[in-house]
């Protein structure tokens, strides 16, 4: 049975994550933890990462974009994502263990706020590229708590109220 780790950088360019994750040392840790495949969505990555892997019984694949990554998320046993809200929430609502890697090269790193809060609530684990290996080694992702999604209905009610529409029940 395949146990996949899915990595996504969304629409961004996050080469340092791709670089830090395509390493034999990482593959070894993942293999040790029971995973046997690494699937990487590389987005605008400036280079084509090597998918060579010397760890036996472990495969690495990558692609740039797909119209929807929902299938890859639902097939994965662990998701490693950039800190973009969309990607984070997509994994969380799919109820997948999530490791967020914060891009500390971005100038206004508001994404860090989200990652911090989600970690505080116990929904995710986060790290940066330099601590990625250590985090993968030490973290027990099965202990993360499920995430409770937002309620867009509240916004619809609010707007109806504001614009003077009576509520349709």
């Amino acid at each position: 049975m395949s146990k996949t780790v899915f990595v996504t950088v969304g629409t961004t360019e996050f080469d340092s994550l791709i670089q830090s994750i395509t390493k034999d040392s990482i593959y070894k840790i993942l293999k040790f933890k029971g995973y046997n495949k690494l699937l990487i969505q590389i987005g605008r990555c400036a280079f084509d990462p090597s998918t060579d892997c010397s760890v036996r019984g472990f495969t690495v694949e990558c692609y740039r974009y797909k119209p929807s990554i929902a299938d890859d998320i639902s097939d994965a046993s662990l998701v490693i994502s950039h800190a973009g809200a969309g990607s984070c929430l997509e994994s969380l609502t799919a109820n997948k263990p999530l490791l967020v890697v914060v891009n500390d090269e971005l100038m206004d790193n508001h994404q860090l706020e989200l990652a911090r809060q989600l970690k505080k609530d116990g929904n995710i684990e986060y790290c940066d590229c330099s601590s990625l290996e250590e985090t993968l080694k030490t973290c027990d992702f099965s202990r993360l708590k499920p995430y409770i999604p937002g309620k867009p209905q509240l916004f619809a009610d609010y707007l109806d109220n504001l614009m003077g529409y009576t509520k349709q029940s």
Partner: protein, 158 residues
Amino acid sequence: MPHEEKATRKTSMMIVIGSGGHTKEMLSLISFLGSQYSPRYYIMANTDQMSNDKVTEFESSKKNKENSQHKIYRIPRSREVRQSWFTSIWTTLVAIIYAFPLVFYINPRIILCNGPGTCIPLCFAGLLLKIFTFGKTQMIYVESICRVDYHYQKIIII
């Protein structure tokens, strides 16, 4: 307002689409809105093909198709991720030149945005429109979940 009639009063809405996660967040935010919010004008960056596809998909999956309309407009991006603040000034100016006529031409009742770079020139224009229409235009800024607040969220009406 041209869009207001008593029984089937419609509210036109300009929805400013960001990119990536902002798009996803915005679409999920408006997913429960009724068909009275029509027509919906989506504004997005001309480089953002992915959002274009997502909005098209979102609209075609929406119910009540017969009495709701939508249109997509694409304008230059005011700032790319990683672009420096200095060159941002120039690209923002270009975006403003596109944004003003668009906002005044569409003349929406509601301008909805959730904070990507694209929304800044549109909010500028929206603010002026609001003054010209004596406050008829509502600008609603929904704080992104990135700014950390849980169950939908902070809403600021400008």
